[in-house]
């Protein structure tokens, strides 16, 4: 089999094999597990870069396609491929896992046990990466569900004081939505003119208007439940603050960095193109929920006293911008959404790393207990936190800016179908509220910085200043910091990859 056909399979299988290998490391040499996991994650990242480099930019569209029948009587096939929409997220998932493997050298939460922890991390990686390259609905579902078990254990064993509650809430909430999504997938399968789970064929049926509108409404509702819980959209977000707050650092980074994107990716990849008519009907609702999430997330952040919980709630707001972009049903909006996903993955992933390190050094995440003056006690850590927080609030010139501003811009001129249906005023009102949201976001981040970074440090930190950023941490963070700064002035690093395929996938709208 050629590289072209086997590249994705090898890249996704590597962490799976790695997970098994790490689990088999003898217990007396547990530290070897760290080395092995690092090697596997480096290998995975290298392979994903090779796919990125080998992607034919003049051709565009689906590449590295491989398709093998799997369960034939049920019409299920193993179909994988990659395009400009998948690529940034696919590579990002390998990058973050690699950085998490580096970070794990430095620190794994109680009760340690690196072997089990890293094995679960690699299993999680396979599920995340697989979701972005599956082009068969059932294969997509399998990868989608594959992340549940490792994340459950990560939160439940290595998490904070309230970990068991958070773990089971995360599991059951997500399961509830995703099983409805499975039913919706089956409904689409049986409603298609020729029964198939093949995503490309289904998109063609969707564009050709093969699905009746009544059917689309029901099927979209099923998918919506699964995807919206994963994003999570307001009011389905309640699992997220708990899961994020309790999860160990690596778990939070991957949860925020990649897992949430699976939901928004599912909207872009499956729900909108396969069920375009229903998407037009649901879009205003999604947009309203998205803006509520923006405002609600910002207000909730203002009320948080725990640094990590604050970052968790900020995710609700940021994903609101992503969903607002998607709800415009325009290529610009979708590009903004994907940019927002990537930027949020980088920035919030970084913030969770920082929250983990602060907890480890200062033994608290309470903003009041930290007491300010971090720039004096641990100046490098403080500076990094300042930079990333500013990026997260969407300052122009850093990565967080483009996702928000482009989403608002797209919402000002939503898809022609939405305008024709009389929703233009609604969208323009939502732009105003979204803009208010950006101000609130800036507000809570600045306030947080003021309370944590500025001022005079409390006596106990002056007497015994905690250790500043360690070399391993610099190693784990440097790529994210570089990307945070680079994506500001150079947004086309992402949009150049996504734009062509976004335009083609959105051709069902606005024509």
């Amino acid at each position: 089999m050629s590289w072209e056909q086997s590249a994705i399979t090898i890249t996704v299988a590597l962490p799976l094999v790695g997970a098994a290998a790490v689990a088999l490391v003898p217990r007396r040499n547990e530290d070897y597990a760290k080395v092995l996991a690092l090697l596997v994650s480096i290998g995975g990242f290298a392979l994903s870069l090779a796919i990125l480099v080998g992607y034919d930019w003049s051709e565009r569209g689906l590449q590295y396609v491989a398709s093998v029948p799997w369960i034939e009587p049920a019409g299920i096939s193993y179909t994988v491929a990659i395009d400009g929409i998948s690529l940034p997220l696919f590579v990002l998932s390998y990058l973050l896992t690699f950085l998490c493997a580096v970070y794990s050298f430095h620190h794994i939460e109680e009760p340690g046990r690196p072997k089990a922890f890293l094995s679960l991390m690699l299993l999680l990686q396979a599920g995340m990466a697989g979701t972005f390259i599956a082009f068969d609905l059932i294969l997509f579902f399998v990868f989608w569900e594959l992340v549940l078990v490792p994340m459950y254990f990560m939160i439940g064993i290595w998490g904070g004081p309230n970990r068991q509650y958070a773990a089971i809430k995360f599991f059951l909430y997500t399961l509830f939505g995703s099983v409805f999504m499975l039913v919706a997938f089956l409904a689409v399968y049986f409603a298609a003119p020729e029964r198939t789970f093949d995503l490309v064929a289904l998109q063609q049926y969707g564009a050709a208007g093969e699905f009746a509108i009544g059917f689309q409404r029901l099927a979209f509702l099923g998918m919506f439940l699964g995807l919206a819980i994963k994003v999570p959209m307001w009011p389905f977000h309640t699992w997220l603050p708990d899961a994020h707050t309790e999860a160990p650092t690596v778990g939070s980074v991957l949860l925020a960095g990649i897992l949430l994107k699976m939901g928004t990716y599912g909207f872009v990849r499956i729900a909108l193109p396969v069920l375009p008519d229903a998407a037009v009907e649901y879009a205003p609702l999604i947009a309203v929920l998205a803006v509520i999430a923006i405002i609600y997330g910002a207000l909730a952040c203002l009320a948080q006293s725990d640094l990590k919980r604050l970052i968790a709630f900020s995710s609700v707001g940021h994903m609101g911008f992503v969903m607002l972009g998607i709800a415009t049903l325009t290529p610009l909006g979708i590009n903004a959404a994907i940019f927002g996903m990537v930027a949020h993955g980088i920035i919030t992933g970084m913030l969770f790393f920082l929250a983990g390190t602060i907890k480890e050094r200062y033994h608290t995440r309470e903003i009041a207990a930290l007491g300010g003056g971090m720039l004096k006690t641990t100046p490098r850590l403080g500076a990094v936190l300042g930079l990333v927080a500013i990026a997260s609030l969407g300052l122009p010139g850093l990565a967080g800016f483009w996702g928000e501003i482009l989403a608002l811009l797209a919402a000002f001129n939503p898809a022609p179908e939405l305008v024709a249906a009389g929703w233009l005023t609604l969208y323009r009102v939502l732009v105003v509220f979204g803009a208010v949201g950006t101000v609130l976001t800036a507000g809570y981040f600045l306030w947080m910085m003021q309370r944590v970074l500025m001022g005079e440090p409390p006596e106990r930190w002056v007497a015994a200043p905690p250790e500043d950023v360690s070399p391993i941490e610099w190693g784990a963070w440097a790529p994210l910091l570089v990307l945070t700064v680079a994506l500001g002035p150079l947004p086309f690093l992402v949009t150049a990859i996504t734009d062509a395929d976004v335009t083609s996938i959105m051709s069902a709208f606005g024509a």
Partner: protein, 498 residues
């Protein structure tokens, strides 16, 4: 099936070979056990193993022999086709597994070894007859042959009051339902004039729908409802499961239940197919009740065996869903529904057997069978805990384990039906999946996240360790390779189309 001999006196010994080899093994055990004394009595287990392996070999030989056709004996009352052989393979594999499970349990238990093995094998003969039965009388004989040894086996722990109670409940419910079943069958015979399943279908196609006939059809279904522990005929299950020796519980919850479903498949999809519009909604409602009640009661259990008992009731509910969407006219849908039940039974047999095997292993060092006993098992015996986690997560329906396909095909057929009732059934399964996950995860959580109360690891022994490990691997491998059975199940739907 006109090409088959319809003379009821013809006997095709080859077709009967799997049953015969198990019968011979059972009889040998009776004789040999008398000659053995003390410790040595446990070796009768090996005779059973040999008999079952021989039966498996004959099953494979028959498989090769029949191709797409079938063999028959006693007229058309006993038919060996792809469907029957698939089930026989399943039953014999479970028999092998139960024998592995029983070896140490009963050699420590010491009493009634010979009797136990004879009863066990006798019951398996009943199951094998059941799936080949194409005649009401044969079905009834087979069902009783499955049930009656079960009553005795459930009561084997004579010193335990719970065992006595469980066995008595099992017996009373079993006899009552058998009586109802027999009454229903007699009316069906009276109306249609035949006991042949295919013949009944032909007669029902044209005949008038007398209220008495419809009632009789429901009576027959009730008879099988007991066997599969569907609500409201489930009362016996938790007490009986809890009171029985664990290998017997595994047998009751896997093999005996599968046999009940096989029988139900044959009467509903073959004999009563023309009346699907009558029985399908009834079974659909029963499905919702069974899964919901099973799961809600399982939530409150602190005893692992009772938890698994209620979980197995819930699974019976999921398996009833495809019956609920069957129609009298749509052969393609019926065939898919039929396949969904088959796939479910295969997946369920693997994962539930595994769960009981793991429980048996833990019971050996901690006989109280409480969920709390599993605290810290992940620290004490990581392998066993990992295997049990796999089985429980598979029962919950999480990929990459075989349980997801069981659910998948159930969802698939419920959606395919395209009716509002189908969607209600699908939604009920979704909600129940989430509820069920809660108690499966509770056990998993106890194993991995709670501090152990005792330190020493669990030593399952070779036979049991092999069974647990093998089934865990099978649970993962079948996730990838379930396609093997979906093809076979496609062939076997010849039954469904009559």
């Amino acid at each position: 099936m006109t090409d088959l001999a319809s003379d009821p006196t013809t006997v095709d010994l080859f077709a009967l070979a799997p049953e015969l080899s198990v019968v011979v093994a059972a009889l040998l055990i009776l004789l040999v056990e008398l000659a053995l004394t003390g410790e040595r009595k446990r070796y009768v287990n090996l005779i059973g193993l040999v008999g079952v392996v021989a039966a498996l070999a004959f099953t494979v030989a028959l498989w090769a022999d029949i191709g797409d056709g079938a063999r028959a004996a006693f007229g058309n009352a006993f038919v060996v086709d792809a469907y029957a052989l698939l089930f026989k393979g399943l039953f014999l594999s479970v028999a092998l597994f139960v024998l592995l499970l029983s070896y140490r349990y009963f050699s420590e238990f010491r009493t009634y070894q010979g009797e136990y093995y004879v009863l066990l094998l006798g019951s398996f003969v009943g199951m094998m007859l059941m799936v080949s039965a194409r005649d009401l009388v044969m079905l009834f004989v087979a069902l009783e042959l499955v049930s009656i040894p079960g009553f005795v086996m459930a009561g084997l722990r004579k010193f335990d009051l719970r065992s006595n109670e469980g066995a008595l409940k099992f017996f009373v419910m079993g006899v009552l339902s058998a009586a109802i079943l027999l009454f229903g069958m007699s009316v069906v015979y009276g109306v249609t004039g035949t006991t042949d399943l295919a013949g009944i279908a032909v007669a029902l196609e044209t005949g008038e729908r007398l209220p008495l006939l419809l009632a009789a059809v429901l009576f027959v279904i009730v008879g099988f409802g007991f066997k599969i522990s569907a609500v409201p005929f489930h009362f016996w299950a938790p007490d009986t499961y809890q009171g029985s020796p664990v290998p017997v519980t595994a047998f009751l919850s896997v093999a005996s239940k599968a046999a009940g479903f096989a029988g139900l498949l044959q009467v509903t999809f073959v004999a009563f197919a023309p009346l699907a519009d009558v029985w399908a909604p009834v079974l659909g409602v029963l499905a919702i009740l069974t899964m919901s009640l099973g799961n809600l009661l399982a939530l409150q259990q602190t005893n692992v065996v009772r938890l698994l008992a209620y979980s197995s009731i819930a699974h019976a509910g999921y398996m009833l869903v495809p019956f609920g969407v069957a129609t009298a006219t749509d052969a393609a849908l019926n065939s898919d529904a039929f396949r969904a039940v088959l796939i479910y039974l295969i997946a369920y047999a693997v994962m539930n057997s595994g769960a009981f095997a793991a429980v048996t292993a833990v019971t050996r060092s901690q006989p109280s069978r409480l969920v709390a006993d599993y605290a810290g098992l992940g620290r004490r015996s990581p392998g066993l805990a990992a295997a049990l986690s796999i089985f429980l997560l598979s029962l919950g329906g999480v990929p990459p384990l075989v349980g997801i396909w069981a659910k998948f095909f159930v969802f698939s057929v419920a959606v395919e039906a395209g009716t509002a009732f189908g969607l209600v059934l699908a939604a009920a399964v979704v909600l129940n999946t989430v509820v069920a996950m809660f108690y499966y995860l509770a056990v998993v959580r106890t194993m991995w996240m709670d501090e152990p109360t005792v330190e020493e690891p669990v030593a399952p022994g070779k036979a049991l360790g092999f069974a647990v490990g093998g089934l865990a691997v099978l649970t993962v491998v079948l996730f990838l390779g379930i396609g093997v059975f979906t093809d076979v199940a496609g062939v076997s739907t010849l039954v469904a189309s009559g």
